[in-house]
């Protein structure tokens, strides 16, 4: 199974188990933003199968009968007989949801719930997911941006006090970041230029574009006094000699 010791899973999407699905298998007490599929997969066969199969493909092979979707499809997920699940890939959040589980091979439950409007993820499910922000980016603390504020302020202060030098820290104990105040030569005189910041999403896996909301929060975190129109996000490279490393996400505060 992916996630076992020694095998590192590289996911291109989120996997999430809805509260109703956890209730279906008697694990409702573990539901919420702290639920970790890799950690809990071994506690039920459908979770093992969900992790194993949907980490490889967001879709299944057989659509769930009686459940028709206008956008995307709901697919069956087979665990050992007679356990069955239903999954759906939400493109807007890049997440495959395990929606429901039956332990008696009874697919009509899925259809009944769909008709009652109780099959798809609820606002509470999305709130659980939002609290994890986006595990793909390795930021897990829901208060990350508040926690990281002092680190970011200190990082900027150090960068401004050390023109040309690279300064670094781990923002909010989670996100490695570097900063550099550019020094340009004008008429053979060194002049302070733009400020570059690079954050490193170690779990980013080069698979998805950062959501726009995360752009805004990073810009506000790293350059709180900069006008939004003066901050370029996700483009460019660090000044020499560092350039850009593959895991970097670069922001630039144009000060001149």
């Amino acid at each position: 199974m992916p996630g076992d010791a020694g095998e590192r899973v590289v996911l291109t999407h989120n996997l999430w188990v809805t509260r109703r699905a956890l209730d279906d298998i008697g694990l409702a007490a573990l539901a919420g933003p702290t639920f970790s599929l890799p950690a809990y997969a071994s506690r039920h066969p459908i979770l093992v199968r969900f992790f194993d199969h949907r980490s490889k493909s967001v879709h299944g092979t057989a659509r769930t009968q009686g459940v028709q979707a206008t956008k995307g499809e709901v697919y069956n997920l087979h665990a050992r007989n007679p356990i069955r699940g239903a999954t759906w890939f939400d493109t807007s959040t890049n997440t495959v949801f395990l929606l429901a589980v039956v332990v008696d091979h009874d697919y009509t439950v899925f259809e009944t719930r769909a008709d009652a409007g109780k099959l798809m993820p609820s606002a509470a499910d999305y709130a659980d997911l939002a609290q994890r922000l986006n595990p793909l980016f390795g930021i897990t603390d829901p208060d990350f941006f508040e926690l990281a504020r002092p680190d970011a302020d200190e990082l900027l202060e150090r960068a401004l006090a050390n023109p040309g030098g690279l300064v670094e820290c781990v923002l909010g104990h989670e996100l490695p970041a570097l900063m550099q105040l550019e020094v340009v030569m004008i008429d053979d005189e060194p002049v302070s230029g733009d400020v570059y910041a690079a954050v490193r999403f170690v779990e980013r896996n080069n698979v998805v574009t950062l959501p726009g909301t995360l752009h805004g929060e990073l810009a506000d975190l790293l350059f709180p006094d900069a006008a939004p129109s003066d901050v370029d996000i996700g483009h460019g490279t660090f000044p020499e000699p560092r350039g850009k490393l593959s895991d970097d996400f670069i922001l630039r505060w144009r000060r001149v």
Partner: protein, 189 residues
């Protein structure tokens, strides 16, 4: 400095550090798990690492074995504020682990912590979901940055937190609304 250790049997105890190297003085440590979660390492574990790394592990391999802290079903029921039958039910379903000690079905304390943390997280999510019911539209990227900037100038971090929370609530509402519209009547096709 960050001390990181992957919990696999074949990996180095402390990444990038030869076993023969004693651990330098450290102020704090952090465990980085494969799922992205982290845990602060206390003085006890730092001391353990220091002993292991400083006592000549070179050429040998060692594994740390720890025994989970266990509580009785009665204690688990009290800690979780549920009945003892619920504890047994949860042991059967997998919510709680089961470690047999004689005729007692002991519960790992870590599982009790996990259930408590889940409950706290659910409450927080439920509040967010409630806010989402009346949330406005999701702000586009530049509009959101402008809103954060304006809030910071007007009211500092507390005002920024309000904008951030409103955006999150709006996103939750938008996602849930979209999910609710995904299904069409089974008669329609």
């Amino acid at each position: 400095m960050t001390v990181s250790a992957w919990a696999t049997s074949s990996s180095q105890l402390v990444r990038g550090r030869p076993a023969s190297d004693p651990l330098p003085r450290v102020a704090s440590g952090q465990l980085l798990f494969e799922d992205g979660s982290t845990a602060e390492v206390g003085d006890d574990l730092i001391e353990l690492l220091r002993v292991l790394l400083g006592s000549g592990l070179a050429g040998r391999r060692a594994r740390v074995e720890v025994a989970p802290e266990l509580v009785t079903p009665d204690e688990a029921a009290e800690l979780l504020e549920v009945s003892r039958p619920t504890v047994y039910t949860w042991q059967k379903s997998g919510v709680l682990g089961l470690v047999q000690r004689g005729n007692r079905r002991m519960v790992p304390m870590a599982d009790i912590d996990a259930v408590r943390e889940a409950a706290v997280g659910r409450e927080r999510s439920d509040r967010l979901a409630e806010e989402a019911r009346t949330a406005g539209p999701v702000l586009e990227e530049l509009d959101y940055r402008e809103a954060l900037h304006a809030a910071r100038r007007a009211g500092g971090e507390p005002a920024v937190a309000v904008v951030r929370r409103a955006q999150r609530a709006a996103q939750i509402r938008a996602a849930a609304d979209q999910a609710a519209c995904v299904l069409q009547s089974s008669d329609a096709g």
